[in-house]
């Protein structure tokens, strides 16, 4: 098998293992939660027969491993169980709310990547300039400012004082795109701030590093135009490590959507998990943890494979380490 094939195969195996481990973690939530999950929903004064009936419905009376087996079997059939408090099918709940969260997180990541790269390149090619120094300030603040607070302050500035944007809420881009843009502008921006700053910093560092490499000096010695050297050779190589960083940011933005949805009252996955945590609605919590992590692991896998494909050094070292 060639090295790229071996690298891809190993990444896929590792991802499958992680998904299995996370499914065990998600399954364990109900058993690790303090107190009796059924009593928590039915109330302390519920009679024993009702409690027993619900335990049987939720398979909680069966042996441990059987419970896990039944849960996973259901999921493979697309059956995530029923919400204990919302009286709906969990799969249906997620099917309704996942697109909402994706319509905020995906644009946030794309915007963060585009602007992060542009800012990073500007700073690296104008090292020490005011723009470059501003980037350091931006990165420091972006890492220190709570995004939920920035969101609230934006609501006050753009919604209350200036009246440019609606205070909160959500509209689907497929129903009214303009309304979606107006309502998603603030939540998407607060999700994009931190990844954008991180990407800009990384692009700047990489680019400065690449510019000092021998092959760039050679390209210059050959008399290539500075423009061609910078954008064709330096930028291309500076961008490869960004792929890994993007995977990390995808994970963080998925978590950050909990805050964005909470601040802007958006009915997505993040808001759903907060409702379920407060109601101790464990089938929903388990399903959300599993679904979001599987998506994140899948995105990571795709980015990892493309990383190995873009940079041959990675798959070579990976082969050496693994074999």
């Amino acid at each position: 098998m060639n090295s790229l094939g071996a690298y891809t195969r190993n990444r896929i195996l590792l991802s499958l293992f992680i998904i299995f481990a996370v499914s065990v973690f998600a399954f364990l939530i109900v058993h690790l939660m303090p107190g009796d999950p059924v009593r928590a929903v039915l109330g302390i004064e519920a009679d024993e027969a009702a409690v027993q009936k619900m335990r049987e419905e939720l398979n909680l009376d069966k042996p441990f491993l059987t419970q896990y087996w039944l849960w996973m079997k259901g999921i493979f059939k697309g059956n995530f169980g029923r919400s204990l408090t919302l009286n709906t099918d969990v799969g249906e709940l997620i099917g309704r709310r996942l697109p909402v969260t994706l319509s905020l997180t995906i644009p946030a990541l794309i915007i963060a990547a585009i602007f992060g790269i542009i800012i990073g390149v500007i700073c690296a090619t104008n090292r020490g300039s005011i723009a470059d120094q501003l980037l350091t300030v931006l990165v420091t603040i972006a890492n220190g400012v709570p995004i939920f607070w920035i969101g609230i302050m934006m609501i006050y500035l753009f919604g209350v004082l200036l009246g440019w944007l609606p205070l909160m809420g959500y509209a689907s881009p497929f129903e009214s795109f303009v309304e979606y843009l107006r309502k998603a502008a603030m939540p998407v921006s607060i999700l994009a701030i931190r990844p954008m700053a991180e990407i800009a910093r990384q692009v700047r560092t990489n680019m400065l590093e690449v510019i000092n490499q021998d092959y760039i000096r050679t390209a210059r010695a050959y008399g290539l135009s500075e423009r061609k050297v910078k954008y064709k050779y330096a930028l291309k190589n500076a961008l490869i490590p960004i792929v890994t960083l993007l995977a990390l940011q995808a994970r963080d933005v998925a978590g950050g959507s909990v805050l964005a949805e909470q601040v802007f009252s958006i009915a997505g996955m993040g808001q759903l998990i907060m409702i379920s945590v407060l109601n101790r609605d464990f089938p929903v919590i388990q399903a959300i943890v599993l679904v979001i992590t599987v998506i994140v692991v899948f995105v990571n896998l795709l980015l990892d494979i493309s990383y190995g494909w873009l940079d041959p050094r990675i798959r070579m070292t990976a082969r050496k380490v693994i074999n």
């Binding site: 590792l14 481990a21 996370v22 973690f25 939530i29 890492n143 978590g255 998990i273 919590i285």
Partner: protein, 287 residues
């Protein structure tokens, strides 16, 4: 000897304050918050939790510098006591994560083999779950309130410490003098206590300092979501959430606690970065 020592600390201070004004400002801000947390009862005579509905949503005045919240509690006093919660919980949870991470990283690095593999795979698994989601679930398992929150925060910082410690142990272990000690039949615990642990301390300390700001942010986030500090206890995060309700009429209520969070986290992050540059510049870009 003494002059050599003071020279060394002179170099340390020079690199630490190398970035000039910014670092001095960060130290000043951190000191202000630490001192106000310690001397909160001296600075303000008000009770942070005393409800007085006659003073509800009072505007700032000489007696209440930042006004009162919806329950008539003095906002400035609550900010001071909020600093206590933020600083104490972040220091405790980071310390907890550092100790547990050192132990697990040491075991994983020194004994490698199957136990090491299990620990490192655990790290991979935890890091693949979005951190905020993971912390929320751990918070649910550990229970509400200060203790559960500290457990949740330290759990989510654990992987970083394990990985760092594991890397340090692996690199020190390959050194000739450690191999020589092993050949000379020196007891394992002696090698660990005398050589591995002391050598890991500078990096672990830097990691500790750099994680404090992160812990403060996480505490604020959990309290904002209502699963951290429980009322009536004051926390900056929950003050932002409470103030958010009155955003239209009293924007200051949500503004000031958020500003405190930002200032503290930025200050601690800058101090952490400068400590790293002063203690071990090679770690730049790695930590």
């Amino acid at each position: 000897m003494r002059s050599a020592g003071s020279k060394k600390s002179g170099v340390f201070l020079k690199t630490f304050f190398g970035r000039g004004f910014i670092v001095k400002a960060a130290v000043a801000i951190a000191l202000i918050f630490i001192l106000s947390a310690i001397f909160a009862p001296v600075i303000s005579k008000h009770d942070p939790n005393q409800i007085n509905l006659e003073k509800a949503l009072l505007d700032p005045s000489p007696e209440h510098i930042l006004g009162c919240d919806a329950y008539g509690r003095d906002v400035f006093t609550r900010l001071l006591y909020g600093a206590r919660v933020s600083l104490l919980s972040s220091i405790f949870s980071t310390l907890l994560a550092a100790c547990a991470g050192m132990l697990l990283g040491l075991v994983a690095g020194y004994y490698e083999g199957i136990i090491g593999a299990i620990i490192l795979r655990y790290v991979d698994v935890q890091l693949s779950i979005p951190p905020l989601l993971f912390t929320i679930v751990i918070g649910l398992i550990a229970g509400k309130g200060l203790g559960g929150m500290i457990a949740a925060i330290s759990f989510s910082m654990l992987p970083g410490f394990i990985r760092l410690m594991n890397g340090i142990v692996l690199s020190i272990k390959r050194n000739d003098y450690i191999v020589a000690l092993q050949v000379a039949n020196i007891k394992r615990y002696k090698i660990i206590l005398k050589h591995l642990l002391p050598n890991s301390l500078p990096s672990m300390f830097i990691m500790f300092a750099m994680n404090l700001g992160f812990a403060i942010m996480l505490e604020a986030t959990l309290s904002f979501l209502g699963i951290g500090i429980q009322p009536p206890m004051a926390s900056w995060g929950s003050m932002v959430a409470d103030g958010y309700i009155y955003l239209l009429s009293e924007p200051l209520l949500a503004f000031t606690p958020g500003l405190c969070i930002t200032l503290t986290v930025v200050a601690f992050n800058i101090i952490g970065d400068s400590l790293r540059d002063a203690i071990d510049p090679r770690l730049r870009g790695k930590l």
